[in-house]
């Protein structure tokens, strides 16, 4: 705002940063401590999920009644669980399902929510007003209720979880994208595009999407962490991944009952799950700062 040169875009509506230089943004993210730690954690977990089946020491579902709840040893580094299965093997494999489901559902949620938000932000008027009330109504129901009702009815396979998560987590994105669009829509280049006779779709594609993309990327990173939280909470409650598939949430739920004499069962999955979620959040934080988007004032929905 202090810059008075007439050729500069006003500070309150920053130019799209990600599109103009993805590498600069990445370097900026990595130069911040939170970004470097966060991104390393995320990359580590993704690589682990992709490669772990190649080198896990045991089979994840082989039970052994002789080895129930054994403490950590040289054969079983993290001990064994209540069915005699190797905990390390299950911790290494336990994030695969979660990353697969949330990794597919997050981009879907951001794309559909982002598109709807931009469209309503551009169209405005009555339609916009009514749809925002519907969005509010959806947001006023707790996520767990919406998810559980669908899961109990249709099952908890990934073919149900992915669309369900993508749908419900796309709804708050509508709001964010709409607000970001409102900031852009009033600017001259949109009027110019309209005056040139461009269609709505062209304006969205050429003018709005590039300007809203920064906000959507940060929002996507946050949605990812909340989705992961929802996914593992559902597994923990017994409504998500079905045994014997290893999953951190499910492992914590199982090991909790034996915590008083076999605490090693919870520690592995607790550390694995926490480090992934913290990694995503730190990355989102650094990304928001690198793109110049103030996220401090937003609480989760």
């Amino acid at each position: 705002m202090s810059d008075l040169s007439p050729h500069v875009i006003p500070a309150e509506t920053p130019a799209p940063k990600f599109l103009s230089g993805p590498r600069t943004v990445l370097r900026d993210v990595m130069s911040r401590p939170s970004g470097a730690i966060g991104l390393s954690l995320v990359v580590f977990h993704v690589l682990l999920a992709l490669t772990s089946p190649l080198y896990v020491p045991y089979d994840f579902k082989t039970m052994n009644s002789m080895l129930m709840l054994m403490p950590p040893s040289s054969e079983h580094w993290l001990g064994t669980d209540h069915l005699g299965r190797d905990v390390l093997t299950r911790v290494l494999l336990g994030g695969r399902e979660a990353l697969l489901v949330t990794g597919v559902a997050t981009p879907v949620a951001v794309v559909w929510g982002g598109f709807m938000g931009i469209l309503f932000g551009l169209v405005g008027g009555r339609v916009d007003e009514v749809l925002m009330r519907v969005v509010d109504a959806f947001l006023s129901l707790p996520w767990i209720l919406k998810m559980l009702v669908l899961i109990v009815t249709f099952g908890s396979g990934i073919e149900v979880l992915i669309p369900t998560l993508a749908f419900f987590y796309g709804i708050p994105v509508i709001r964010i994208a709409r607000a970001a669009t409102h900031d852009v829509v009033a600017r001259d280049f949109i009027s110019a595009a309209k005056a040139r006779g461009h269609s709505r779709m062209t304006i969205i594609r050429r003018e709005l999407v590039p300007n809203v993309l920064d906000t959507l990327m940060v929002e996507g990173a946050m949605r990812w962490s909340w989705m992961l939280l929802a996914f593992s909470s559902l597994s923990f409650l017994g409504f998500g991944v079905s045994p014997p598939t290893p999953d951190w949430g499910l492992m914590i739920a199982d090991a909790r009952g034996f915590m008083s004499f076999a605490p090693w069962g919870v520690l592995g999955p607790v550390i694995a799950l926490s480090s992934l979620i913290i990694g995503i959040n730190l990355t989102a934080d650094a990304l928001a700062k690198a793109l110049g988007i103030d996220r401090a004032q937003k609480a989760p929905v």
């Binding site: 006023s140 129901l141 559980l148 607790v270 913290i278």
Partner: protein, 319 residues
Amino acid sequence: MLRMLLRRCFLGAVTVAIVSAIIFLGVELLPGDACTAFLERDAKGQMLENCRKDFGLDRPALTRYFEWAGNALQGDLGMSASGRKSIAELVGHRMKNSLLLAAVSLSVGVPMAIFLGVITGLWRDRPIDLFFSTVAILAMTIPEFVSATVLILIFSVWLGWLPGIIVTSASAPASEFFPEILLPVFVLAMVMMAHILRMVRSSVIEVMAGDYIQMATLKGVPYWRIVFSHALPNALLPAINVVALTIAWLLGGVVVIEVVFNYPGLGRMMIDAISDRDLPVVQAIALIVASVYVGVNLTADILTMVANPRLRTLNMRGG
């Protein structure tokens, strides 16, 4: 001002009406109804028809919607499908317990969060700020069931200070929930504090950088007076909305916490009702929770409007 308030209330009512329609439509669209759940899924023929007649499920959906919504407005939430008890009665105790948990967590968490937020904001980048900001990030990112499990491990299993699970019955008076309620309160308050603290902190930093604060400093106003009479009233205003959002989060987050600690509240009742496919109960709880959510947000907006001197004067001039 009054017009703005009325408009805001009207929008809140519209949202609740839409929610009720979504809840009803959602349950309507799902396969199965209260009767198939009540008589097991494979029930067919005469028995099912009799049951549907009993429940009034043979009438058109629109009639049933208006009857359901109308009764709910008068506090009659209908009968549960399993056991056919009055839902209002079933929900009553659970609601009281959930409110107790929320009230204790809020009364511990909100003042602490504001206090720590102001301290970390004023002493930005000093060790105390770094410490609490880091703890806040951990508290708000780690899933509630994980932090709850770790806390049970530490305080209940290793140290043996607090019970890790609640055995008090749902209808027991509030006093009997102590000290068992302390661990769940601790978990809830921690997450809540993290969000409010971060908000207050950034708001304090922003306000303290303002021109009028500099002006006051140059005028020679003592530091503590600047903080208390110039900065805080402006810095705490946005906190109202975050507290509201946090309460709204509580409504969902509390479900997991209640399950972890076996706390007999509304959240666990909701999970049980969903597992048992007791649709009338699910509908009732959904409606209650959504109304509370809308109500809390509405209250926060009104409080912000009333407390914001700029909005007040703006409207006195006829805006």
